[in-house]
Structure formats: structure tokens, C-alpha cells
Symmetry: C2
Subunit: 294 residues, 2 copies
């Protein structure tokens, strides 16, 4: 990661973390529910989606403060999806990012409700945001609900579970990832550019950029599960193989997966050039996602 991207990400992450906590703190809700929502919000992570949203907004010359609430909404939806995916009935994970998953720290009922609460609050914070026009709110809520709903992220989790213990081909694998992780990344970039004032044709190029970003994200995830460091990752490596999940390295070999990654990174950069923006951070983010070690 370049020094300038690191400084940028650290700075934006602090803004996002503060605002996220504030949104959840401001809720007048049962104490245990609030603790549970805060627990997962605070569990951290890379905040890649909200940072991408702010960077895309700024790339079109708009200050990112108007995008901040929407960026937090995206992170709330990402966080809810992790809480529900970790449940015993789903992926049954006890540890995430080096700490207990929500249902292990609290209990299953609380975890289900914390997830439901974060999902619903995501739409509330957008609809309640004075810095956005009603037209912007309508557009953003429509696109976010589509990206995260049963045609998007929820479909991805369903297909992912159905695909376990099956040998999938690349096309099938990418169709799952496109929904499970791609759609929310796509919304982050496109929604940020939209708030920043991008034209329709620029939004189309940003969408192409974000599509490749999603694929890069997944390839690198799969590669790290083979050659990553457990300490850096905060979870065991080799879990894809023991869970019998189809992955890029399994289908293309490790070398093939790395080549494919480089191909997608190149495509993402080409799309970005066409989107005609001051693209420093958006371009740095491609390299960061391709080469991250966790």
C-alpha cells in the first residue's frame, strides 16, 4: 500500500468509525441489543466499502461529508450480513477477526435481532440524512436495497451455501461472488460517484471498475486462504479446502489465480481511466485489494 493511500484510509476509517458508533449510540433501544450491535460494529475490519464510497465521491470533486451516512449504511449492511452468515444454521463460525462471533458472545436470538436491527437502521440513516436531497435518497435506497437484497447479497449467500461440496466451474463461481461480495462493492463505488456528481456515462465506467474490484477481492481472499498468514488473517488458513468450497486456486492453480488477478487489475484500471476522474485513490485501491495480506 502506498503511504498516501495508507494515510487517506486511516483518516477516512476514523471518520467512519466515529459516525458508525454515533448512529448506533443514538438509538434508544434495549441495552443488550445495543451492546450486541456495537460489538459487531466495533469488531472493525478494513472498512473497504465505506472508504471506497468516500473515495469515489471525492474523485468527482465533492467533499465526502455528504456521502458519510450512506457509507455507514453500507458498513451496517456488511456487518449484519457477517452476523447472520456466522450463525450456526449458516456457516457456523465461532471466531471472526480474532474475536468471538456475535452469537457466541451473546446468543443466537440476540445475534439475529442485532443483524435485523443493523439492516433496518441502514435505510433509516439514509432516509434521515439532511445533507442529501429526496431524489438522492430515493436513488441510493433503491440501489442499496437491490444490491443487498434477494437479487444481490442475500442471493449470494444462498447460492454459496447451495454450492458447498459441489465442484463449480469458474463461471458459476463468479456468479456467486458477483452477488455475495460484488454487489455491495459495486454500490459503494457507484453510489459514491453518484453523490459526487458523476454523469451517467461516468457511472457506467465506475460500475465496470467496481465489478473487477469485486472479483479481485474474491481472488485475493481465495489466494490468502492458501498462502496467507493466520496471524494477519485472524482466522485459520486452509478453511476453504476443509469446507470443500470451490476457489480460484483450486480451479486455476495458484499461478493461474495470480495471473487472473493481474488481468482483472488491469481491466479495473482501464475502466477507471475511461471514467475520467482524479483517480489517485481509486487506482491505489485496486492495488491495495489485489495485494492485501488480510
Amino acid at each position: 500500500m502506498t503511504q498516501s493511500l495508507k494515510t487517506y484510509m486511516d483518516n477516512r476509517m476514523e471518520l467512519i468509525n466515529q459516525q458508525l458508533e454515533q448512529f448506533v449510540y443514538a438509538l434508544e433501544i434495549p441495552a443488550r441489543l445495543q451492546e450486541s450491535m456495537l460489538y459487531s460494529i466495533r469488531a472493525g475490519g478494513k472498512r473497504i466499502r465505506p472508504i471506497l464510497m468516500l473515495a469515489a465521491c471525492e474523485a468527482y470533486g465533492e467533499s465526502s461529508h455528504r456521502a458519510l451516512a450512506v457509507a455507514c449504511a453500507v458498513e451496517m449492511i456488511h456487518t449484519y450480513s457477517l452476523i447472520h452468515d456466522d450463525l450456526p444454521a449458516m456457516d457456523d463460525d465461532d471466531v471472526r477477526r480474532g474475536q468471538l462471533t456475535n452469537h457466541k458472545q451473546f446468543d443466537e436470538a440476540t445475534a439475529i435481532l442485532a443483524g435485523d436491527g443493523l439492516l433496518t437502521t441502514a435505510f433509516y440513516v439514509i432516509a434521515n440524512q439532511d445533507a442529501l436531497t429526496d431524489q438522492e435518497k430515493s436513488y441510493l435506497i433503491k440501489e442499496l436495497s437491490k444490491a443487498s437484497g434477494p437479487e444481490g447479497m442475500v442471493a449470494g449467500q444462498m447460492l454459496d451455501m447451495e454450492g458447498e461440496n459441489k465442484r463449480l466451474d469458474i463461471k458459476h463461481l463468479e456468479a456467486i461472488h458477483k452477488r455475495k461480495t460484488g454487489e455491495l462493492l459495486r454500490f459503494s463505488a457507484v453510489g459514491g460517484a453518484y453523490i459526487g456528481g458523476a454523469t451517467d456515462s461516468q457511472l457506467k465506467e465506475i460500475e465496470v471498475y467496481a465489478g473487477y474490484l469485486g472479483l479481485l477481492f474474491q481472488i485475493q481472499d481465495d489466494i490468502l486462504d492458501v498462502i496467507g498468514d493466520e496471524q494477519d488473517l485472524g482466522k485459520p488458513v486452509g478453511s476453504d479446502e476443509s469446507n470443500r468450497k470451490s476457489t480460484y486456486p483450486q480451479l486455476l492453480g495458484l499461478e493461474g489465480a495470480i495471473e487472473q488477478k493481474e488481468h482483472y487489475a488491469q481491466k479495473a484500471k482501464e475502466a477507471l481511466w475511461k471514467a475520467g476522474v482524479d483517480s489517485t485513490y481509486l487506482e491505489d485501491i485496486i492495488d491495495y485489494i489485489s495485494n492485501r495480506n488480510n
Copy 2:
């Protein structure tokens, strides 16, 4: 129930059921997820929330077609809440409305995702509704997400679970019901009146009306659990006692609960008179909720 209310409800219920199915059918999603969402949508029920919304809209002289998508959104949220509440980690119910609950018919993971999918789609259908202005969409999404989120319905379910096996007083009991069932009923009436063009002071009276409607709904639920007919209810009676839940009849006696119900019905009617509307159906709905047998 008066003949005229019955005809009205049957007619509106048909509209709502058609539109609800159409919204879920139109989604391009994994087959099993769609089946699971449709299964619970089709499980029926009284559709009291969406009917209330259409009636409140019409009470202010506006045709109800502009409120139909929002009414369906409310029913999607109600349906998602039943699916999640029935899960083993929550109320652990195998049967609802005389048929298997979603997770018994499908499986827990599918039921969790079907609930998540319905909740997210609710916001999508409002944001995607051309018959509403952007200003109306923003208002309705803000109010619906507040009513159904962690300060509203989700808090209600949390408090309800925490209150099990405890002896609650009436004040505590009503604080739970206000959130668990009251908030969504309140939104239905207020949102419908808003779309119908009610003034701010009229909306305030409709809100008072809907508050009493929520309490009536709950008292009658509790009474039916004591003196109802299992066939009509589609579920066993006496479950509150065996689940050790606090109820109105338990706290006030059966006679006291019936008196309290009549008191609330009177208060609901007074609020409605102040709201100055062609209130035939809204008034009939008070009596219907107070005296329904399922």
C-alpha cells in the same frame, strides 16, 4: 364485522395478495429462496396492516392505488418478523396459521435469508414506486424503518424474550406491545393518511387512533388465548400460560381485560372523530379488531 367492512376487506385483501405475489415473483433470485419467500407470503393472515393503510389513505379522499406498494412493504416486514420470530433460537414455533413455519418447511438458513430478503425488498418496492414523489418515498422509508427497526419492532421482540418467565406490570407489558405490534400498526395508519393527503394535525390524531388500535389488537390476542377456539385460531390456546408470558387477563382478570378493551375502543373512536375524515372503515376496523375470533 359489518357486511360492508367484510366486502371492503375481501376486496382490498385480493388487491394486496396479488400485488405482494407479483413483487416476489418479479425477483430474479435462487429458486429455493423465492419459494421460501412466497411460502410465507402466501400463508395469508388477516392482512390487517396493509388494509388499514389503504383505508387510511382512502379516508382522506385519495384512491388507494398510490398506497398499495407501501402497504405491501408493510406486510413484507410483518411476514419477515414472523419468520424470524418463529426460529428455534427465538420462539421456536413449528406451526403458524395451521401450517408448518418457514424453517420447518424449508430449513433454518433458508428461513433466515427469506426474512432478510423480505425486509430488504420492502424498502426496495417503496423506493422503486413511480406513483410516489421522492419526498413521499423519503418520508415513508424513514418512518417505516424507524417503526420496524431496533427502536420499534425489533426492540419489541427483544423485550418480549427478555420478559418471558417474569411477572410484568401493565405499564411494562404495554411498553413491549407498543413496540412489538404497535409501531407497525401505527405506521400503517399514519403512512396511509399521509399518502392520502392528511394535514399534520390530522396525522397526529390518526397516530393516537392507531396507538389504541395496537393495544386493542394485543388485548384481544391475549383474550383469545384464554377463550378462543383452536380451530378459528389455527394454533393451540393456553400457550401464553404455558410459555409463562404476562398477559392482560392474567394481570386484570378476564372481565377486567374486556373492560379495558372497551375503554381503549372508545378512546380510538374519539381520536378518529377529531381526525375529521370520512371514517366509516377506520371506525369499523376498531370494532373488528376488538371482536375478531382469530
